[in-house]
Amino acid sequence: MSKYFPGNPRPALRMVSLELGRGAVLALLGESGSGKTTLLRMVAGFEQPTSGSISLAGSLLSSPQRTTPPEERGVGMVFQDTALLPHLTILQNVSFGLRKLPERERRRRAEQTLELVHIADVRDRYPHEVSGGQAQRAAIGRALAPRPALLLFDEPFNNLDPVLKWDMLHELRTVLSETAATALFVTHDRDEAFTVADSIALLHRGRIAQVGDAEVLYARPASAFVARYLGAVNLIPVWRQGATWVSALGELPVAAPFQYAGVDAVSVRPWQLRIDQGDHSPGVAGTIEGVRFMGEYREIRVRMDNASGLRDLTVHVSALCGCRPGSRVRVTLAQAAASNR
């Protein structure tokens, strides 16, 4: 489907097509302005597609002709700001979507949900009386409680501090698998997407750059954009030699390279390269330009000799490496790189 906003000739989304299996969690990953939130809001029913359609469990929700109003979709949503209703207690907030149930069932379901998201102890407090994490848990509980066919998350942890955010992400992952919920999770953060989702759809300027398993996107990106978005990367030119693709670093068992700067290229992650000191080691020669201490590893920038046809490479090595700027090294593909493809 596509979405044009009035007064803007560039579509917010063009020719986007996604499918989500029951019980699956898909992350919509992308920069701000990539159309991920628009896509989510269309699924929720707050926006209408210009062309194309949205169906949930076999029933048509949206099409340019007709649209099911948000309240009839059976879709739950967690917003960027917690957006708890400040005049209701935590319990009342969690029960907010349950009012059509009989009193006893509503009570039971709300209690159950409070337990599920670990906020039973603050049920009678008002949103301003609980911590940010508890508020966000309540917001998730509120969306979960009616057991919607589909859950939507719009960057829900943006305003939490990093430590809390990771706790919440892991917790959310557990809750989602416990409840076997189907969910769309919008985020701009790769690590959030990795943590919470089974598969990822990476959006770029209103198009889907690539969709698939998180590991596939990481290891076999379909474009330079995808390769870069999912982490530090070396884009290495390759050429065909018989049945295989070959690079300056040697043979690469890659299925399909992508176009980058006019040539075929593949992505090689910094940890997939190895450096050795001394002129007689195997590999391509270069000079260390910079070393950055990163905690678990050191990030080394190597200026490759002109003859190699490569420019700068980034290599991650163990923190114990004694590399110094200016020293001569040789770069090779680590064994893992070859087997990973």
Binding site: A44, G45, F46, P69, P70, E71, E72, R73, V75, G76, M77, F79, Q80, D81, A83, L84, L85, P86, H87, L88, F96, G97, R99, K100, Y126, P127, H128, E129, R142, A143, P146, L152, N159
Partner: protein
């Protein structure tokens, strides 16, 4: 940026967040602030400034505290003396009727203004329809029309010689008595007139909270199974409640203090009772006792508001704010919506003003509107209002600055007391002031007789001094909040610039802050003068015998059934009252443009 914060005009309530903030500050003053209101105006100024200025400037809030405290104590003291024979007599005769009428009127008018104000505010916020932009500010216009003038108009419209009955007699050629007539001079009629003139308070406060509300509120409810109307009822409306309650609270205060319209329509409220005891019965004791009862009603309304607020908070701690998107309406829905929003404007402004114009033209035709001595009343009115406004602006600047320099509980308490003047019904204030100052006057006379053997006369109550004091007390809050929000705009930078460039705070205030404050100061003067020009009950009680303002002139002429003589000064008051409404519109649209370009 100019911030106009007028009691009668709420000019600062255009949609921006700053305006909402200014509004909150005013409400806090009115509703005896809540604990979380602390720390909204605190700015650091260097220690030397604190020492040199604060002591001196504490005098200003002190003066005000005395000015407002004395009449309050005088009236409040009578709460304890409610067992005197005079009060017992009141209780046996009229008190019940007064209280019943007052409470009934506040309830009915409160409910109706809430209905009109909230519905129009929501429709102009959430929907797009032809005429929406114009209507969204036309809806404020009835604020320019004081209740007593609207009452005069409506009374005239439906009387025997009024256009309604003329329509039947002249154009439909029906005989008197054969056509239906409408007696508006009843409780229902008064409720109607007060509703159509006072609903803008509810409209403005509701519009402000709706503008502040994020679109997310509606969306949350929608994706939890609530339809549009249910979502409005269960999420949007509860969140807007403090704003609505605040607006209705203002309506309640205005209704409690209302004198002119109740008088014309013959509804005996507590305020009417105070006037009757004071003037007709000449019983100071009864008037003050009734004032004490009225004060009790005010206190009860405030307590009710605080109680309903309870522990819940109503402003969502939202980081992101997406304004509510306007849904475009077409065809019949657009017509109905525009019609609904236009009705209050027609009833609250167009019709009564048309009636006034008709009288004025009629009067000009038969010469009765000729010798009006308009200039004389205008000069005396403007003189009085100007003097009081100037006094308020100077005092308010000092108090606002003192509140920033010295944050102690004493200063904030006095500032709070000083700004609570407009929460007190004018009649109560007037009775308190008159009683207190006549006591002072008589002590002065006694002392003077003893020392010099001559009587200087009533120095305060016999001159305009008492009235000026009354104006200062009643309208101080209006000026204070206009200037205080002005300070909010300049102090931050003013402090930092002053300190980092080595300027002495005194100089910085003079050369940096005051120029920045100028729009706020001018705005405050305009608002204050307009408010005072319209003021009736306070003026009626506190004015010296020979003094007549435009408002009292209108009231007396209308009371003598001299409508054509009353019409021209009334129109003048309306025209002046429209100034802030237009300023509001200009400020709002300028801000809209500024926002569109950023």
């Amino acid at each position: 940026m100019t911030d106009f914060a007028g009691r009668g005009h709420l000019v600062h309530l255009a949609d921006s967040g700053e305006r909402v903030l200014a509004w909150q500050q005013r409400l806090r003053a009115m509703w005896l602030r809540t604990p979380w209101s602390k720390g909204w105006r605190l700015r650091r100024v260097s220690a030397t400034a604190v020492q040199t200025i604060s002591r001196l400037w504490l005098v200003a809030p002190g003066i005000l505290a005395v000015l407002i405290g004395v009449p309050l104590v005088v009236v409040g003291a009578h709460l304890g003396a409610l067992s005197s024979p005079e009060v017992r007599h009141l209780a046996q005769t009229v008190l019940l009727r007064y209280v019943a009428n007052t409470v009934g009127l506040v309830t009915v008018v409160g409910a109706l203004t809430a209905l009109v104000g909230v519905s129009t505010a929501w429709l102009t916020t959430a929907f797009e329809f032809p005429g929406r932009r114009a209507l969204s500010w036309l809806l404020v216009l009835p604020l320019a029309l004081p209740t007593y003038i609207a009452a005069i108009s409506y009374a005239g419209m439906f009387e025997y010689t009024g256009p309604a009955q003329l329509l039947f007699r002249r154009w439909l050629a029906m005989a008197p008595g054969s056509y239906p007539t409408l007696d508006v001079q009843t409780f229902a009629g008064l409720s109607f007139v007060l509703t159509v003139t006072l609903y803008p308070y509810a409209y403005l406060t509701s519009r402000a909270v709706f503008a502040r509300q994020s679109a997310a509120v509606m969306e949350i409810a929608r994706c939890h199974g609530y339809g549009v109307l249910e979502a409005f009822r269960h999420a949007v409306l509860p969140l807007a409640r403090p704003g609505i309650v605040a607006g209705v609270g203002l309506v309640a205060m205005e209704t409690l203090g209302e004198y002119g319209a109740s008088h014309f329509f013959g509804v005996d409220t507590l305020t009417i009772g105070i006037f009757r005891s004071w003037f007709a019965l000449g019983s100071v004791e009864a008037a003050v006792s009734l004032a004490a009862v009225l004060l009790l009603v005010v206190a009860m309304i405030m307590a009710l508001e605080r109680w309903q607020r309870n522990r819940a908070r109503y402003h969502a701690p939202s980081v992101l704010h997406r304004p509510i998107p306007r849904v475009r309406l077409n065809g019949r829905n657009a017509l109905l919506t525009a019609g609904w929003c236009a009705i209050p404007v027609v009833l609250g402004f167009v019709l009564p003003v048309a009636q006034l114009c008709w009288w004025a033209v009629d009067g000009a035709g038969n010469g009765r509107a000729g010798n009006l001595n308009l200039m004389r009343y205008l000069v005396s009115t403007v003189g009085l209002a100007g003097t009081a406004s100037l006094a308020i602006v100077i005092l308010a600047t000092l108090v606002a600055y003192a509140a920033r320099v010295r944050r102690g509980p004493l200063v904030s308490a006095t500032a709070r007391l000083a700004t609570s003047g407009y929460a007190i019904p004018a009649a109560v204030l007037a009775v308190g002031i008159a009683t207190a100052y006549s006591w002072v006057d008589h002590r002065i006379i006694g002392a003077s007789r003893l020392l010099f053997g001559v009587s200087p006369g009533l120095i305060i109550t016999g001159t305009s001094l008492a009235l000026l004091a009354g104006y200062v007390v009643r309208f101080f809050g209006v000026g204070y909040h206009a200037i205080d929000s002005g300070f909010c705009g300049v102090t931050n930078r003013f402090d930092e610039v002053a300190r980092s460039s080595g300027m002495r705070p005194r100089h910085a205030l003079l050369h940096v802050a005051l120029p920045g404050l100028r729009p706020a100061l001018i705005g405050a003067v305009v608002l204050l003068m307009v408010d005072m020009l319209k003021e009736l009950p306070l003026t009626m009680i506190l004015r010296p015998f020979n003094l007549e303002t435009l408002a009292t002139r209108v009231f007396r002429m209308a009371g003598n059934e001299m409508m054509q003589e009353a019409a021209v000064p009334a129109l003048l008051i309306v025209a002046i009252g429209m100034i802030p409404v237009f300023v509001l519109q200009r400020v709002a649209s300028a801000q809209m443009k500024a926002r569109a370009t950023t």
